[in-house]
Every structure is written in C-alpha cells, then in structure tokens.
C-alpha cells in the first residue's frame, strides 16, 4: 500500500527527513517521509484517508476551499466570411443570396443563348458546304476516284 500523502513530494527533497527503501510489492520502492510522525504512521500502514489532517482526507471530506477542476472545453471552429482569391466578399454574398427563381431564369437564359449559337453555327456550316459542292460540280461529270485512274466503270447490276 503506497501512502502518497504521508510522503514528501518527490521533487521537494528539502522536506525529506527519511528515505525508506522497502520491498512493498516485488519491486523495491523508495518512500520519502517528511518526519518521524509520518514514518510511524507509514510503518503502521495507516490509511491516509482516515487521518484527518492529510490532504487526501480533506479533499475527500470537502474541507476548506475546494478547487474545482474546470471541465475542459473543446475548441470550436469559428466560421468567418472573407474574400477569396478573385471574388470579393460582396460578390460571394450576392451569389449566395440569389433566389432560386432568379437562378433558374439565368440558367434558362444561358441555355437558350447556347442553343442559338449552336444553331447559327450549324446553318453557317451548311451554307458553306453547299457553296463548295456547287462550285466543284459545275461543268464536270461525277467521276469516282477509280475512274479517274482509268479503270472502267463498274457495271451496275440489273438483276439479282
């Protein structure tokens, strides 16, 4: 049985009267006793919880000023708004505060514009192609590449 409160604090050697090395368990332990009174009590194996002047007793029976061990508070992350790389705070806030309808409208608008653009492009392409074919077809028969090399035209099948 270790009797910590009958002992001097391990660091405070000035108050140590007696160093006792005993085999309490299997290991030999060092007990630093502060005087003959505590040494006697220690050797009698008295329980410090039952000796009224010890720290342990006083703590147990709530004598004197009790120091409540403050509960540890966990750190909480605090949210804060600030500018990010390219966007100012106002821009972000505007974007966040948009109403869903507005957003929907904007999206439709964008979609429409994109479609329009695509259609326009397609029309342009078509026109160009038509022009090219017109130019190339003018004045000459349609000749396959093989014919151009001098190969006779393939006879088209007349029966199955």
């Amino acid at each position: 049985m270790a009797v910590p409160t009958l002992l001097a604090p391990a660091e405070n050697h000035a108050s140590v009267q007696m160093v006792l090395v005993t085999a309490e368990n299997k290991e030999r332990q060092v007990f630093r006793l502060i005087g003959s009174k505590t040494e006697s009590l220690f050797l009698q194996r008295l329980n410090p919880r039952k000796i009224s002047w010890t720290q342990v007793y006083r703590r147990m029976h709530k004598k004197g000023i009790t120091e409540e061990v403050a509960k540890k508070r966990s750190r909480r992350t605090v949210k804060r708004q600030r500018d990010v790389v390219g966007a100012t705070l106002e821009a972000i806030r505007d974007k966040r505060n948009q109403k869903p309808e507005v957003r929907e409208a904007a999206r439709l608008e964008a979609l429409k514009a994109a479609k329009e653009k695509k259609r326009a492009e397609a029309a342009k392409k078509k026109a160009e192609k038509a022009k090219v074919t017109q130019v190339s077809n003018r004045g000459q028969q349609k000749i396959s590449k093989q014919q151009a090399r001098g190969v006779q035209a393939k006879a088209s099948a007349k029966s199955r």
Partner: protein, 138 residues
C-alpha cells in the same frame, strides 16, 4: 550495523543466497554500505549435476564454475543496510534488509549480475563496477 553473526541476503548470481558475517574488513566494530567483510555461506543454490550437457544454460555454467557451497568462507561487500545513515544533505536513508555481494580475493565481484537496489554510498568508495551492474542505485 553489520557485525559478527549478522546474516545478509546475497543479491548476485554467484549462487549463494544467505551469508553470515564473520569479520568486518576495516577492523572497526560495525560494517556499513561499501565495507567489505568476510562471510560464511549459510545457504546456497543447489549446484546442477549435468553442467556439461548441451542444455546447460549460461547461469548454471557460471554457478558450476564458481561453485559456491554452504559453509564456504568468502569475501563480500555490503550493499544495503537496515540501519539508517545520514546523507550529506541531511536526509537519512535506510533499507528494509541487509544485503551483500560476494567478492573474490582481489576484491572483484564473483557474480556477473547484481539483482537488486544498492546504496549510492558505493559510488565514492571504488565500487563503481557494482554500481554499474545494479539495476537501481538509491
């Protein structure tokens, strides 16, 4: 306060277990930590018979080589005493038993290990080897 007839524990692996003081080395009345003395072995570990076998461990081989037997007379060094003694800082220190380590005639430890706490008083008294072998010095 080790004197004639004091029985001490032997805390090395020499094979002896208990030793009785028959003379304190320095010629004074009582021996303390760091004093050598002459002892007679009161109790020793049994010496294994088949030490030459392949299973013989190093410790048993050692015991066979030294072969401490009951009734032998040996030199020994006091490493713990139950009598409190004063340290330079004003404290007193005492152990709960008396203990020694066996020595050969040249004053070197017989065993290769020290198996318990020894007093720090050995440091100043040319017993550095035993201090370094000990698991703890108080």
């Amino acid at each position: 306060m080790i004197q004639l007839k004091t029985v001490l524990n032997v805390i090395d692996n020499s094979g002896a277990l208990l030793a009785e003081c028959i003379r304190v080395g320095h010629g004074g009345r009582y021996g303390r930590i760091g004093d050598s003395m002459t002892v007679v072995i009161r109790k020793a570990r049994p010496i294994p018979q088949n030490v030459s076998g392949p299973q013989a461990s190093s410790s048993s081989l050692l015991a066979a080589k030294i072969a401490i037997r009951k009734g032998e007379v040996r030199k020994a060094l006091i490493v713990r005493v139950a009598k409190e003694m004063r340290r330079p800082d004003g404290r007193y220190i005492k152990f709960d038993d008396n203990a020694c380590v066996l020595l050969n005639n040249r004053g070197e430890p017989l065993g290769t290990r020290v198996l318990g706490v020894v007093g720090a008083e050995l440091r100043g008294k040319k017993w550095g080897k035993i201090v370094s072998l000990a698991p703890k010095v108080v």
